[in-house]
Symmetry: C2
Subunit: 404 residues, 2 copies
C-alpha cells in the first residue's frame, strides 16, 4: 500500500482535545487506503518549558543532558496520540527515535540524521498499525540521545518519507501553506498551490516555517511535501520538483525577515586574505553570517559589510574589532535595526528586468536600500527595519502577486 | 573504590532548587571517596500529572503507551540533576533505563527486572563521573520501554546496588526513616536505627514507604539499605540482615493501614475445593487478597472472610457473589470501613505471650477485633477504621515502644 508520512507540529497537539482531533484526521487518512506514519513534535510550548527548567538548574546546561531532556517532549506527545488512536479503535504504536531506527551523528543540539533503519516501522505498518514516531530526536551508534535542532521534526518526517519510499510527506501546522508574502504584512497575499524546493527555502518566512534541512532532503530524494493546516481542510501548498511551466520565470513571492543586524568595517586595506581572516574567525566563533558585501576599493581601501542575526551582534563585534585593529582597518560600525526583503522565483536570473523593477518600486515607496545581494532565484535588499513592511507591500504590488 | 547507590524520591526533586540541593548532597557524598550512582524518581507529582493527561486522551489508555509516557518523568529529573551536577563542577551523566542496562520481562505497568548489564555504569564510574540513572523504567529485549510499578525506583536502586556489588543502597525521602508506629498517630513513636528486611516489609506503613520488591531484593543479595531524609542529616534507619542480639525476639513496631475492606461469604458448604474456587477466580480478576479467615465449620457450613483494598471491593463482590450462589452458600456481606493493625518483630512466634498482650490491650482500649491472622513475625488484627488510631496507640504503649 502507498505510504503517507504526516507530521503534526506542537500547536496542532497543544492539549488533549487537539490530540484527539489529530487522531481523527489520521483515521480519516487511513480510511483512504494508505499506510500512515505520523511524526509528532512536542505539545504546545513544552519544549520551551523544559528549556526554562534547564536554565533554572544550571547556568550553562550540558548539551548532552539538554538533548535527553528535550527528547521527552516528543515521547509524551507520541504516547498520547497513540493512546488516542487506540481508544478510537485504530491500532497504533508510538516509536522513540531509537525504536524508529533514526541514527544520527554524534553531535548534541543539532545532530544530522546519518541513517534511517526503517525495518521496525515497516513491520508495524505490515501489522496494520499506524506508526507514531517521535520527531526531532535520534540516537548515535552508542545509543546516546540526540536532537536535530529547532524544527527538526520536519527533517524527521522527510527523512522517514525518503527511507520508506513514501508517496508524500504532509506537514500539518497552524497556517494553511506558503503565501506570496507574510499575510500579516500584506493582507492581499495569496496562498501558493505549488512551489519548487529552492523557492520554498527562500520563502519559508512567508507562511509555514520549515527546517531548511527538511526541504533540502525533500529535493535530494524527490519527496513531494504538502504543507497544510491541521485545523482546516483547505488544500495547502505542494512543494515539489515539477512546477508547472506557466509559473516558471516569474516572481513567486516576497520574503522578509526583521532579525537582521549589519556590521561594517571601514577602510579595510585591499590585500589578499584579509576578508578570509574575518570570516574564518567568525566561523570559529559560531557566528552565522548571512549577506556579505564588499565595495569596490578606492585608493586600496574598501568597506566590508555583513549581516548577522541580531542576537549575535555582540559576539560578532568581539571577533571583528580586534582583527580590524590588527590589519590596520578603520573603525567598526554596526546597525541592529535592519530588515531583509527578498523577491524569490526560479529562473529570474534570466530576466534582468526584475532587479530594476525591484529597485524602482522601493525607491518609489521611499525605501532606502542599505545592501544588495543576489542568488540564482532571489534578489535581496537590506533596508531599515521601520521600512520593512512598506517595502514588502510595494514589492508585492509591483510584481502583481495579488493577481492569480 | 566502594560504590554507593543513592535513590532520591519525587518529593526530594520537586523543583529546580530541590534538584540543586540534591546535587550538593551527592557532591558531599562523593567527596568522601566513594563512587556514586544515583537513581531518580520523577519530579514531585509529575507522574500523576502524566497519568491525568493520559486519561484525557483515552478512556482506557493502552499500557504500552502509558509506560513510554511515564518513563519520561524520570528522564526529565535525571537530565536536570546531571545538568545541576555538571554546573557545580561534578562530572555526571544521565542514563535511561536502556542505557543503564536495565532489562525487564515483557510486561507493561509492573514489569520485573530480568537482568542488569552494569558495563555502561561501570565505565562512567571508571571515568570519574556520577551516573544518574532513571528509576522505575527498563526495556525488554526488543527495546520496548517498561515500568516497574509504583515505587519502582526503589527496586531499580537495590537492583543496581546488587549488580554493581555496591557497599550500600541509600534511599532518600521526605521522612527520616522507619518508626515504631506512624508518628502522625503516635507522637511518641521512635525512629528505629536498624531493622531486619522482613520486619521492614511489615513496618513499611510506619514512616518511609518502599516498594516491597526492593526489600526482598535487598534481602536476597544482602544489600544494606539506609532509609533517611533528603532534607536533614539525621542518621536514618539501616535495613540489614544482622540486627543486634538485644533487639531480637521483641516487638519492633506497630503497623497500620486503613485501606481495608472485608468480604464475608456466609454458610459456605464444607466441601473440598470451594475455597480454591473463590481465590482462583479472584486471582484471575487481578483482585489482590490480603488476610483470609475461615471459621471452623458448624454442621458442615462455615463462614469465609477475606480482606481486599477498598478500591477493589466492587471487583471482589462481582467475582464472589455468582460463585456463592452456584455453590449454595448463604449471603455475601461486606464492610469497607475497616483497618489493619499489626505488631511486628522477628522471632515473636517463639513467645506466645505477645498475642495475649495484644488482645488484652485492645480489649482494654475498647477496640473490637473483627479478624485475626498471624505470620512468623507479625500478629494482625482487623478492627473498625474508627478505632484504628486508638488501637495503634494502645499497642505502642503496651509493648513499651516509646522506651528505648
Amino acid at each position: 500500500m502507498p505510504i503517507i508520512v504526516q507530521k503534526y507540529g506542537g500547536s496542532s497537539l497543544a492539549d488533549a482535545e487537539k490530540v484527539r482531533g489529530v487522531a481523527r484526521r489520521i483515521i480519516a487518512a487511513k480510511a483512504k487506503g494508505d499506510d500512515i506514519v505520523v511524526v509528532c513534535s512536542a505539545m504546545g510550548d513544552s519544549t520551551d518549558d523544559l528549556l526554562a527548567l534547564s536554565r533554572q538548574v544550571a547556568t550553562t546546561p550540558v548539551e548532552r543532558e539538554v538533548d535527553l531532556l528535550l527528547s521527552t517532549g516528543e515521547m509524551v506527545s507520541c504516547a498520547l496520540l497513540a493512546m488516542a488512536l487506540n481508544d478510537m479503535d485504530c491500532t497504533a504504536v508510538s516509536l522513540t527515535g531509537l525504536q524508529a531506527g533514526i541514527q544520527t551523528e554524534s553531535l548534541h543540539g543539532k545532530a544530522r540524521i546519518a541513517d534511517v533503519a526503517p525495518e521496525r516501522i515497516e513491520a508495524e505498518l505490515e501489522a496494520g498499525k499506524v506508526a507514531v514516531v517521535c520527531g526531532f530526536q535520534g540516537v548515535t551508534k552508542a545509543q546516546e540521545v540526540t536532537t536535530l535542532g529547532r524544527g527538526g521534526s520536519d527533517t524527521t518526517a522527510v527523512a522517514l518519507a525518503a527511507a520508506l519510499k513514501a508517496e508524500r510527506c504532509e506537514i500539518y501546522t497552524d497556517v494553511e501553506g506558503i503565501y506570496t508574502a507574510d499575510p500579516r504584512i500584506v493582507p492581499e497575499a495569496r496562498k501558493l498551490s505549488e512551489i519548487g524546493y529552492e523557492e520554498m527555502l527562500e520563502l519559508a518566512s512567508s507562511g509555514a516555517k520549515m527546517q531548511p534541512r527538511s526541504i533540502e532532503l525533500g529535493e535530494l530524494y524527490d519527496i513531494p511535501i504538502l504543507v497544510a493546516s491541521t485545523f482546516s481542510d483547505a488544500p495547502g501548498t505542494l512543494i515539489h520538483r515539477e512546477v508547472a511551466m506557466e509559473v516558471r520565470n516569474r516572481v513567486r513571492g516576497v520574503a522578509s525577515d526583521t532579525n537582521v543586524a549589519k556590521v561594517t568595517v571601514l577602510a579595510v586595506p585591499d590585500k589578499p586574505g584579509i576578508a578570509a581572516t574575518f570570516f574564518e574567525q567568525l566561523t570559529d566563533a559560531a557566528v552565522s553570517v548571512d549577506t556579505i558585501v564588499q565595495n569596490t576599493s578606492v585608493e586600496k581601501l574598501s568597506d566590508l559589510s555583513f549581516t548577522v542575526d541580531r542576537t549575535e551582534i555582540a559576539k560578532a563585534l568581539a571577533v571583528v574589532e580586534p582583527i580590524a585593529a590588527k590589519v590596520g582597518a578603520g573603525s567598526v560600525t554596526h546597525d541592529a535595526a535592519l530588515a531583509k526583503v527578498s523577491v524569490v522565483g526560479t529562473g529570474m536570473q534570466n530576466s534582468p528586468g526584475y532587479a530594476s523593477t525591484m529597485f524602482r518600486s522601493l525607491a518609489d515607496a521611499g525605501v532606502n536600500i542599505e545592501m544588495i545581494s543576489t542568488s540564482e532565484i532571489r534578489i535581496t535588499c537590506i533596508v531599515s527595519e521601520s521600512q520593512c513592511a512598506d517595502a514588502v507591500r510595494a514589492l508585492h504590488k509591483a510584481f502583481e502577486l495579488d493577481q492569480d
